[in-house]
C-alpha cells in the first residue's frame, strides 16, 4: 500500500497528493500528543484513501485517544471492520469497554455471539483479514491475541464474572508471557491462591530469554504465602535497584511484620518516584501500622490534590481517619475508594476494620465478605470473618472459615494460630498445642535469618503459654510467657499470665511481684487485683513473721537487748496516722469477691493492615478463662 499517489481529477486542478506524508503527519501528531491535529488529518487521510482499513484504524485510534469512545467504535462498526480486521476488532471492543458498554464489547470480542464463551474460537473462526499487521504497527499476532484475551477478561471482570475473567487472563498470559497487564490482573486482585499462582508460573512457556521474565514474575509473586525474606536468587545486578523489585521486597517485609524496615524501603522508593502506584498502598499500610498520623495526613492530602480519581488517594484519607479513631469519616472515604475501584481489596478490608474496631461485628463481616468475593485467592478476608465469628462467640462457624482460609493458604501461621485459638476455646488443648507449635515453627522459619521474631507474634507465644498451663505444664508455660515478654516488654496481660502461672506453681513470692508489676502497668485490672489479694494472703500465711525468724532461738534473744542507735529517721515520722481510714482503695487495693463478675475484655488488637492485610489477630485467650481455670486447677 505504500506510496500510492492519488490523482484527483477536479474541475480546476489535479493536485498530486502524497498521502503517505499525511499518514506520517498523523503519527507525528500522535507522538506529540496533539490529538486534535492528528484526528483532523487522519480524517482527511481516510477521505483521501477512500476508506482504507488501516487509515480507518488510525482515525479510530485518534478518537480513542481523544476519549471519544462511542464515536470510534461506531466508526469501526459502520465500516464492518470489527468483523474483518482483528486490530480493529480489538480497538472497537476496547472503546466500548471504556465507554462501559460491556455487553456490546463482549459481543464484538466474541465475534458477534455474546453467548460464546470459549476463548480462542470466535477469533480464529471469524473471517478476519489476515493482513492485520498493518502498516506502521509492528504488532505480532500473539501479542494481539493476548491483548484481546486480556480485554475479554476485563469485560468479564467488569461483568462480575470473575471465574471466566480469570481464565481469560491466564490464556492471555499463555499467549504472551510479557503481557504484564494480565499478570497484574491475576496477582493484584488476588484471584489465584498460592498454589494456583505457582502452577501458572510453571505452566508459562519458557524460552531461552525468558529467564528474566520468570525471575521477575517470581519475585513479584508469592509475597504472602511463604514470606521468604530473601528474594529468589538475583539474576541481574542492575535489576536489584528497579523500583518494582524493591517494592516487592518491601511487601515481603511487610508480610513478615517488619514494618520499620518495610517503611524505610518504601520511603526510599517514594523519594525516587513519589507516586509509585504499587508502592503507595504498602506505604500507607506501613504508616498505619507505625501510627505515623502526621505523615499519613500529609500524604493523603497530597494524593487527593493530585489524583482525586485514584482509589489509593481516598484509601489514604480513609486510613488516616481510621488511624485517628474517627470511624465515620473513615468509612465514608474508604467507601469512596471502593466506588472508584471496586476491586481495591485493601480498601474493603480497611472498611471492615473500621467496623470491627467499634465492635460492629455484623457490619464488619459484611465488608469482609465483600472483600472475600473480590479477592478469591486471598485468605485474609476469610480469616477476618472467622475472627469476627469468634468474637461473637460463634466458634464453630469461625472454625469453618478458618479451615477455608487454610485451604487457600495452608502454610500461613496466622491461620494456624487462629485454628489453635479455636481448639483452645473448645478445650481441645492437645490439638491447640500442636497447632500453636506448628505455627511457631513456621514463624521461626520466616525469621530464621534474623533470629528474633517480630513483635506481632507476641500473642502466639502467650497463647502457647496458656495452652501449656491448661495442660499443667507450668514450666513450659512460664517459658513461653517470658519469651512473649521479651517481644513486648511491660505488657500487662503477659505479666498477669506470668503471675498466674507462678501462683499455680506455688511461687507466691514471685507471683506477688509479678502481679504488682502488672498492676503498675494497668491499674484497673480486676483479674490481677483479685489474684494479688489471693496470693498475698497465701504468701503471708506461709512465710515466717519476719526475716530470720526461724533461725533465732529464744534463748539467744534473752538479754540480748541491743542498745541501738537513736534518732528517728525521716521516714518514720508518719507513725501516727493509724486508724484514720480514708476512703478509696489503693492501686491493688480494692478487694473484690474472688469470683468477681469480670466483664470479659477481649484483648484483641484490631488488625490494621490493608494491602492484603496482615495479621494482627492477637486474640489472646481471655483472662476470665484464666480465672475459671484457676479455680479448677486449684480445687483439683
Amino acid at each position: 500500500m505504500a506510496g500510492e499517489n492519488f490523482v484527483f481529477e477536479e474541475e480546476t486542478k489535479n493536485i498530486d497528493i502524497n498521502i503517505d506524508e499525511y499518514r506520517k503527519l498523523v503519527r507525528t501528531y500522535i507522538d506529540l500528543h496533539l490529538y486534535n491535529s492528528a484526528l483532523f488529518w487522519a480524517d482527511k487521510v481516510v477521505s483521501l484513501s477512500g476508506g482504507e482499513p488501516s487509515d480507518i484504524y488510525w482515525l479510530a485510534h485518534c478518537m480513542f485517544l481523544m476519549k471519544q469512545y462511542h464515536r470510534a467504535s461506531l466508526l469501526i462498526k459502520n465500516k464492518g471492520l470489527d468483523k474483518t480486521n482483528k486490530l480493529c476488532q480489538y480497538l472497537a471492543a476496547r472503546c466500548l469497554l471504556e465507554a462501559k458498554e460491556l455487553s456490546e464489547a463482549l459481543a464484538i470480542v466474541s465475534g458477534g455471539d455474546p453467548n460464546n464463551t470459549s476463548f480462542s474460537a470466535p477469533i480464529m473462526s471469524s473471517p478476519v483479514d489476515e493482513s492485520f499487521n498493518m502498516e506502521g504497527t509492528s504488532i505480532l499476532s500473539c501479542n494481539l491475541q493476548s491483548a484481546l484475551l486480556y480485554l475479554k477478561g476485563q469485560i468479564y471482570e467488569a461483568l462480575d464474572n470473575r471465574g471466566l475473567a480469570c481464565d481469560c487472563y491466564k490464556q492471555a498470559l499463555h499467549e504472551d508471557v510479557h503481557c504484564y497487564n494480565a499478570f497484574e490482573a491475576l496477582v493484584k486482585h488476588q484471584m489465584l491462591s498460592a498454589s494456583e499462582e505457582k502452577e501458572l508460573l510453571e505452566s508459562l512457556p519458557r524460552g531461552e530469554d525468558d529467564k528474566l521474565v520468570s525471575y521477575i514474575y517470581e519475585s513479584l509473586l508469592n509475597k504472602y504465602q511463604d514470606v521468604p525474606l530473601a528474594l529468589p536468587a538475583s539474576l541481574h545486578q542492575s535489576l536489584e535497584d528497579n523500583l518494582d523489585m524493591t517494592v516487592a521486597k518491601a511487601e515481603r517485609l511487610f508480610y513478615a511484620c517488619s514494618y520499620r524496615e518495610c517503611f524505610r524501603i518504601t520511603e526510599e522508593v517514594l523519594k525516587k518516584d513519589p507516586y509509585h502506584t504499587s508502592c503507595l498502598p504498602i506505604h500507607i499500610s506501613c504508616l498505619v501500622e507505625l501510627k505515623m498520623t502526621n505523615k499519613l495526613f500529609y500524604l493523603a492530602h497530597d494524593l487527593v490534590d493530585l489524583q482525586p480519581e485514584s482509589a489509593v488517594s481516598w484509601f489514604a484519607v480513609g486510613c488516616y481517619y481510621y488511624l485517628i479513631g474517627k470511624s465515620d469519616p473513615a468509612r465514608r472515604y474508604l467507601g469512596k475508594a471502593t466506588s472508584l475501584d471496586r476491586l481495591f481489596g485493601p480498601a474493603w478490608l480497611a472498611y471492615g476494620h473500621s467496623f470491627a474496631s467499634e465492635n460492629e461485628h455484623d457490619q464488619a463481616m459484611a465488608a469482609y465478605f465483600k472483600a472475600s468475593q473480590l479477592m478469591k485467592g486471598c485468605h485474609l478476608p476469610l480469616l477476618y470473618i472467622g475472627l469476627e465469628c469468634g468474637l461473637t462467640n460463634n466458634i464453630d462457624l469461625a472454625e469453618k472459615f478458618f479451615s477455608q482460609a487454610q485451604n487457600i493458604a495452608p502454610d500461613d501461621p496466622f491461620v494456624i494460630h487462629e485454628r489453635g485459638v479455636v481448639a483452645f476455646q473448645n478445650r481441645r488443648y492437645n490439638e491447640a498445642e500442636k497447632l500453636f507449635e506448628s505455627a511457631l515453627a513456621k514463624v521461626r522459619v520466616i525469621y530464621e535469618s534474623k533470629k528474633v521474631i517480630a513483635e506481632k507474634w507476641e500473642p502466639l507465644l502467650n497463647n502457647l503459654g496458656h495452652t501449656y498451663r491448661k495442660l499443667h505444664k507450668y514450666e513450659e508455660a512460664l517459658d513461653f510467657h517470658k519469651q512473649a515478654l521479651m517481644l513486648s516488654p511491660l505488657n500487662p496481660s503477659t505479666l498477669s499470665c506470668i503471675g498466674f502461672v507462678q501462683a499455680l506453681l506455688g511461687w507466691n513470692v514471685e507471683a506477688v511481684e509479678t502481679f504488682h508489676k502488672a498492676l503498675g502497668q494497668r491499674r484497673d485490672n480486676s483479674f490481677s487485683t483479685t489474684m494479688l489479694n489471693y496470693v498475698m494472703e497465701q504468701l503471708m500465711e506461709e512465710t515466717p513473721p519476719f526475716a530470720g525468724a526461724d533461725s533465732s532461738s529464744q534463748e539467744q534473744l534473752v538479754g540480748d537487748l541491743l542498745n541501738t542507735v537513736g534518732g528517728t529517721s525521716k521516714s518514720f515520722k508518719l507513725k501516727t496516722l493509724d486508724g484514720q481510714s480514708s476512703s478509696g482503695a489503693g492501686a491493688g487495693g480494692s478487694g473484690g469477691a474472688w469470683m468477681g463478675e469480670e466483664t470479659p475484655e477481649a484483648s484483641r488488637s484490631v488488625p490494621a493492615t490493608f494491602v492484603s492485610p496482615s495479621p494482627g489477630q492477637s486474640r489472646s485467650i481471655d483472662e476470665v478463662e484464666m480465672q475459671d481455670s484457676f479455680q479448677d486447677e486449684n480445687t483439683s
Binding site: 520499620r260 501510627k291 534474623k450 533470629k451 528474633v452 513483635e455 515478654l485 521479651m486 516488654p489 511491660l490 506477688v512 504488682h516 508489676k517 503498675g520 502497668q521 489479694n533 498475698m536 494472703e537 504468701l539 503471708m540 500465711e541 506461709e542 512465710t543 515466717p544 513473721p545 519476719f546 526475716a547 525468724a549 533465732s552 529464744q554 534473744l557 534473752v558 538479754g559 537487748l561 541491743l562 542498745n563 541501738t564 542507735v565 537513736g566 534518732g567 528517728t568 529517721s569 525521716k570 521516714s571 518514720f572 515520722k573 508518719l574 507513725k575 496516722l577 493509724d578 484514720q580 481510714s581 480514708s582 478509696g584 482503695a585 489503693g586 492501686a587 491493688g588 487495693g589 478487694g591
Partner: protein, 580 residues
C-alpha cells in the same frame, strides 16, 4: 572480696582514666566523664608523662566531619537532628551518638509530655523505645557492638523492664569498657541482693572496688562499704570528693547522724557548689530538726541551681519541716518533673502525701519509688503504713516484710509487723515480732508495752506482768510523755499482785497509781482493797492454812515474786507450728 588487697599503680590508673575521659566525652557520656574527671583530679599529684597519652586524634576516625557536626547537635540537645545525621555513618562514635541521641530524645519527650506524674507514658514513645531496643538487639546478635553501645542497650533493656537481659548485657559492657562508670552504676541498680552480686563475673580491675563498695552501700552493708572506701583512700584516692560523699552516705545509712553531718560539712568545705547528694544531707538535718541549717542549705542550693533535683528535694524537706506540706509536695513534684527516675523525691513525696492523709497519692508515689529502686525500704514501709490505713492487712504485712527484709535489724519494721499480725489475730506471730523488736533495741520503746498487752489479751498474765514490770522499770524514771501507758501498767500490776495476794507489791504499785491523773481514783480504790485484804489476811491466815489451795497460792505467789524480778525476756512461749 575485701581481702584482695591489691596495690594500685597510680600512674597506670591515671593514664587509663585519661584515655577513658577522652572516649567518654567524645560520646557525650557526660556523667561518666564527670565521675572520671573528678577521680582524676584527686590524683592531681601523680605525675605522668604527657606524651604517653598520645591524643589519639579524632581526625583519624572515619567520617570526622559528620561526627563533629552531630556532636554539636547532641551537645545542644537537638537529639532528633543528631540521630538523623548519624544514621548511616560507619564511625563508631557516630553510631553510638545515633542510638544515644535517639534514646535521649525519647526520654526527653517523655519528660516533656508529662502532664501528670502518675500517668503512664505515651504508648507511642514506648513503642519507639521498643523498636530502638530491637535494633540494638539485631546489632548485638550480629556481634557488632562495642562496650559503650552495650551499655546503652543495657539501659534500654532496663527501661523496658527486661532486667535479666539487661544484667547480662551490662556485665559484658563492663568487661569491654571497665572505665565507663555509667555501666557500673546501671549494673549496680540491677543487683537486688548479695547473692546476685556474688554470681556476677566482673573484670579484674581497680574500678571493681568502687563498684562493690557502691553496691554494698545500696544494700545497707554499710560497714563493709566503709572498709573498702577506707582502703581506697589509703591507696591514694584520699582526696576524692566522691569517697567522702559515699562515706557520708554510709554513716547516714548507719544512723550515725552526727558523723554523717560532719562528713558532709567537710565535703562542702572542699567543694561548696557541689549539689550531688545534698538531698541526703537535708534528710539528716531534717531528722535532727536543725531548721536553721536546713534553711541555709536550701537557700544556698537554690542560689546555686534552682532547677536541680537535689535543690528541689532540699527545699521540699525544708517546707516539710515547717509543716507546709502542700509546698513540699510542689517541690518534690518539680524534682520529679526534672527527673522522673529520682528515687528519693518519690519516697519523700509519698511521706508528704501521708501527712496530708492522701493515701491514694501516697501509694502511687511509693510504688513509683519502688519501681525506680526496689531496695528503698522507706518506700516499702510507707506502703505498709498506707495499706494499714486502708485496712488491707495482708498487703500491709507484705510491704512491711519487704522493708524488714531490707533492714533486718530495724525494730520499727518488726513492731509494725507485730501490730499487723495482731490485727489479723495471729497472736503468736505478733508476739514473735515484738519480741524480736525488743531484741534489736526497740527504737520507739513500744515493744515491751505491746508485748505486755498482748500477753494480757491471751491471758498469759504472768508473762504480761513480767513485761509490764520491765516496762515500768525502764520508763518510770525517764519522764516520758506516755503517762497514760505507764499508769495503765501500774494499774495492771497492782491488780495482778492483788489477785495473787502479794499485798506488798500490790500496795507499792497502787500507790504509784496515785501520781497519775488517769489512775488516781482507781489507785485509791486499790489501796483500800489492799488494806482490807491485809486486815483479813492477818485474821484468816491460820484458818486457811489447812486449806491446800491457799498454800498453793502462796507458793505460786512466791514464784511470781521471783519471776517479777526476772528480765521479761526470759518469757517463754511456744509458737504454734506455723499458723494455718
Amino acid at each position: 572480696m575485701n581481702d584482695e588487697t591489691m596495690t594500685l599503680d597510680l600512674k597506670k590508673v591515671k593514664i587509663g582514666i585519661h584515655k577513658a575521659i577522652i572516649e567518654c566525652s567524645r560520646r557525650g557520656l557526660l556523667h561518666g566523664t564527670k565521675w572520671l574527671a573528678e577521680l582524676n583530679f584527686s590524683l592531681e599529684n601523680v605525675e605522668i608523662d604527657p606524651s604517653i597519652i598520645s591524643q589519639a586524634s579524632v581526625y583519624d576516625d572515619v567520617d570526622y566531619d559528620r561526627y563533629a557536626m552531630a556532636k554539636c547537635y547532641f551537645d545542644l540537645k537537638e537529639y532528633d537532628r543528631c540521630a538523623f545525621h548519624t544514621e548511616k555513618s560507619q564511625s563508631k562514635y557516630c553510631k553510638f551518638l545515633h542510638f544515644y541521641s535517639r534514646f535521649l530524645s525519647i526520654e526527653k519527650k517523655k519528660i516533656d509530655n508529662l502532664t501528670d506524674l502518675n500517668y503512664n507514658t505515651d504508648p507511642g514513645l514506648n513503642s519507639q523505645l521498643q523498636s530502638l531496643c530491637s535494633e540494638l538487639r539485631d546489632i548485638f546478635l550480629a556481634r557488632d557492638m562495642d562496650g559503650f553501645c552495650m551499655y546503652l542497650y543495657g539501659v534500654v533493656l532496663k527501661r523496658l523492664d527486661l532486667h535479666r537481659a539487661a544484667l547480662t548485657i551490662l556485665e559484658s559492657a563492663v568487661h569491654e569498657e571497665p572505665l565507663h562508670w555509667g555501666s557500673w552504676l546501671e549494673l549496680a541498680s540491677l543487683i537486688t541482693d548479695r547473692a546476685k552480686l556474688k554470681m556476677l563475673s566482673l573484670p579484674d580491675h581497680w574500678i571493681k572496688k568502687f563498684f562493690i563498695a557502691h553496691t554494698y552501700l545500696e544494700q545497707q552493708l554499710n560497714e563493709e562499704a566503709l572498709d573498702i572506701y577506707r582502703d581506697l583512700g589509703e591507696q591514694g584516692f584520699s582526696s576524692s570528693n566522691y569517697l567522702l560523699a559515699q562515706s557520708a552516705i554510709a554513716h547516714h545509712n548507719k544512723r550515725e547522724v552526727n558523723t554523717a553531718i560532719l562528713t558532709f560539712r567537710e565535703l562542702r568545705k572542699k567543694d561548696p557548689y557541689r549539689l550531688d547528694n545534698l538531698d541526703t544531707l537535708s534528710n539528716l538535718l531534717y531528722v535532727k530538726e536543725m531548721s536553721v541549717d536546713l534553711a541555709f542549705l536550701a537557700h544556698h542550693a537554690s542560689e546555686t541551681d534552682k532547677y536541680r533535683v537535689e535543690t528541689c528535694c532540699v527545699i521540699g524537706n525544708y517546707y516539710s519541716l515547717r509543716g507546709e506540706h502542700q509546698k513540699a509536695v510542689m517541690y518534690f513534684e518539680r524534682a520529679l518533673k526534672l527527673n522522673p527516675q529520682y528515687l528519693s523525691a518519690w519516697t519523700l513525696m509519698g511521706h508528704e502525701f501521708m501527712e496530708m492523709k492522701n493515701t491514694h497519692a501516697a501509694i502511687q508515689s511509693y510504688r513509683q519509688a519502688i519501681d525506680v529502686n526496689r531496695r528503698d525500704y522507706r518506700a516499702w514501709y510507707g506502703l505498709g503504713q498506707t495499706y494499714e490505713i486502708l485496712k488491707l492487712p495482708y498487703y500491709c504485712l507484705y510491704y512491711y516484710k519487704q522493708a524488714q527484709h531490707l533492714r533486718p535489724n530495724d525494730s520499727r519494721m518488726l513492731i509494725a509487723l507485730g501490730e499487723t499480725y495482731e490485727k489479723l489475730d495471729k497472736i503468736q506471730e505478733s508476739l514473735k515480732c515484738y519480741y524480736r523488736a525488743r531484741c534489736f533495741g526497740d527504737l520507739e520503746g513500744m515493744a515491751l508495752l505491746k508485748l505486755a498487752k498482748l500477753f494480757d489479751k491471751v491471758n498469759e498474765t504472768e508473762q504480761a506482768a513480767a513485761a509490764y514490770t520491765e516496762y515500768v522499770k525502764e520508763n518510770y524514771d525517764s519522764q516520758t510523755d506516755n503517762k497514760q501507758e505507764i499508769s495503765l501498767a501500774f494499774k495492771y500490776l497492782a491488780n495482778y499482785h492483788l489477785k495473787r495476794n502479794e499485798l506488798d507489791e500490790a500496795y507499792e504499785f497502787a500507790f504509784k497509781c496515785l501520781s497519775y491523773e488517769e489512775s488516781k481514783e482507781e489507785g485509791k480504790a486499790l489501796l483500800k482493797t489492799v488494806t482490807q485484804k491485809r486486815g483479813q489476811e492477818d485474821g484468816e491466815m491460820q484458818v486457811e492454812m489447812q486449806d491446800g489451795s491457799t498454800s498453793m497460792e502462796v507458793q505460786s505467789s512466791r514464784n511470781a515474786r521471783n519471776f517479777s524480778h526476772l528480765r521479761p525476756l526470759t518469757l517463754t512461749f511456744t509458737p504454734s507450728p506455723d499458723g494455718s
